[in-house]
Amino acid sequence: MSKNLISMFDSMPMSKPIVIFIRRGDAFSSGLGMTTAYLASPHAVRLCEIDGTHPDNELYRINPDKVAAVVLCRLNRPSWLPAGKVFGPGLEIVSIGEKG
């Protein structure tokens, strides 16, 4: 799984950061987020901790032109956001802009 994650991150533009959403008080979600951040190197990452399971408000504030991907760790993807690639239970990566 980690190889697939790394190759997916490799396909994303290096100049843009990856935003990882984790759920406050959920150790499993935090673990997934940190592991994803580890594998996303050398991309810059931003870890965003949110209350609840719906990051709608936080996602609205993101400028899609300035982000390579959004990672949801045990969080629900809003219906307006395109479906991403799901890795195991609870990890979904929504690629915003492909390389080249």
């Binding site: 990882i20 951040a37 580890y38 990452v45």
Partner: protein, 473 residues
């Protein structure tokens, strides 16, 4: 290919460590093979990680690997030329013959456990992450990593002995191979086992007791199977081995005129803050014990130079972090009197938590109960500076670590305690074994120069004789 790379990495690590060891003892002492292996490993990992960091300021990639390899091989050759050729072997007793394969099996099990389990949380996200990022950047940690808020969870401010030893393996393997990187942790277990055996044999003059203590190390669950154990890729067990080496050498150095072990103590002391941030506390305690021994034995004031390498490493790392604008950990509140006063009410719950941890049989088995009995046995021997230093080395870190939780910034500081106290206690566990050995081998006074059995190990005769201590290999 991996096997060749792994051999190259380990050979250069041992060569560097052996060279440094021989330079430190410089023909004035003979160590057992077990001690030579253990010290070579400790000094090798310390030296290689420091060299990678230092040379990384002006070199990277193959040049960096070549420069460090050159220094390692040069040190190895110097060590080989200066080594003492002969060794005295004692005839092993039946009990020793039984215990040696037991220890070998235990070591094999630790290697097996390391290979079948993945790296633990800290092992991966605090330590291996640095090795991987440095490898991807030609052997140098990217400057951006230190101020990367998205990866602040990986504690960029932690020192580099463990990750850069892993990096050394990666450089030789040509790829970041976590499976191979895990081999360094059982190697630390081997070093710890050998040192427990060797120091116990030295302070008790009984080889069988050394082997027994080394065999019993395996039966502390925190060391072998619990979270943060010796095979999980955490830095706590390696730190405990460095601390054991420092404390054991200081005990031996407390004998009059035993400057060899004082030099070894100084080298191990210097590496403590380089292994883990907590090593700074162990450094302070071990340095205080060293000052105590210097004053008690009226050693030359020049002995204070022993603290210089550690101070240099502490300051250099601090300066480097400042220059890199490294993010600081947020686990603790500011260390000042105001915080202390406002959080002093935590003292009683903290003591309760510590006692509960001591009584935690699934984690510690009977270890702390036996240490408590050994402590009582050691009390009448407080006229011996070595015993006082050993007691201080065991108790002071526990007191200091517990005091740290007064400053914990966690919403529930008891969660902080629950998550880390067993690993912090593990850092002094091997020293506890020395105390137990001291109690078992209870003698009214040590007589440093009375050597009745030249092939039996003591700290006193180590100045001039190769000891027959646990020739495990």
């Amino acid at each position: 290919m991996n096997a060749i790379g792994l051999f190259g990495a380990f050979a250069t690590l041992f060569a560097a460590g052996y060279g440094l060891l021989v330079l430190l003892i410089h023909r004035s002492a003979r160590l057992s093979l077990a001690e030579q292996i253990a010290f070579s490993w400790l000094f090798g990992t310390g030296a290689v990680s420091l060299l990678l960091w230092a040379f990384g300021f002006f070199a990277d990639g193959l040049l960096l690997q070549g420069l460090v390899s050159f220094v390692c091989i040069s040190l190895g050759m110097v060590g080989w030329n200066l080594k003492k050729p002969s060794q005295i072997r004692s005839k092993a007793r039946w009990f020793e013959v039984v215990l040696t394969p037991v220890i070998a099996i235990e070591i094999a099990i630790v290697f097996y456990l390391s290979f079948v389990h993945t790296l633990g949380w800290d092992g991966l996200l605090n330590w291996e992450i640095k090795a991987r990022y440095a490898f991807a950047n030609g052997g140098v940690l990217p400057a951006a990593y230190f101020s990367d808020t998205g990866r602040a969870f990986s504690h960029p401010e932690y020192p580099l002995a463990i990750p850069f030893t892993e990096l050394w393996l990666y450089l030789w393997l040509g790829e970041p191979n976590q499976f191979c990187a895990k081999t360094i942790f059982p190697a630390f277990y081997v070093a710890g086992t050998f040192l427990v055996a060797a120091f116990t044999a030295r302070l008790s003059r009984r080889t069988w007791l050394g082997l027994l203590m080394a065999a019993l190390l395996f039966f502390v669950p925190q060391i072998t199977v619990e979270v943060g154990c010796a095979s999980a890729g955490y830095a706590d067990f390696p730190l405990s081995v460095f601390y054991l080496a420092a404390a054991g050498c200081l005990f031996c150095a407390s004998e009059r005129g035993n400057d060899v072990f004082f030099r070894l103590y100084a080298a191990c002391l210097a590496l403590l803050p380089w292994v883990k941030r907590d090593g700074l506390i162990l450094w302070i305690v071990a340095a205080a014990c060293g000052v105590f021994v210097i004053l008690w034995r009226r050693k030359s004031p020049l002995s204070l130079v022993a603290f210089l390498p550690g101070i240099v490493i502490i300051c250099a790392w601090r300066l480097y972090l400042n220059a890199m604008h490294a993010l600081q950990a947020v686990d603790f509140l500011p260390f000042n009197l105001k915080t202390f006063r406002t959080h002093i009410d935590r003292a009683t719950p903290l003591l309760s938590a510590l006692l509960a941890e001591f009584c935690n049989l699934p984690t510690w088995s009977l270890f702390w109960f036996i240490v408590a009995v050994a402590f009582l046995y050691a009390l009448p021997r407080m006229r011996d500076p070595g015993v006082v230093a050993l007691l201080l080395a065991l108790i002071a870190p526990i007191v200091l670590y517990l005091s740290l939780y007064l400053f914990s910034s966690w919403p529930n500081y008891l969660d902080h305690v629950g998550l880390s106290i067993s690993r912090l206690l593990m850092q002094v566990t091997p020293v506890g074994f020395l105390l137990i050995a001291l109690a078992i081998s209870r003698r009214p006074e040590r007589r440093p120069q009375r050597v009745q059995m030249p092939n039996r190990a003591t700290c006193a005769i180590a100045r001039s004789e190769r000891t027959a201590v646990v020739e495990l290999a």
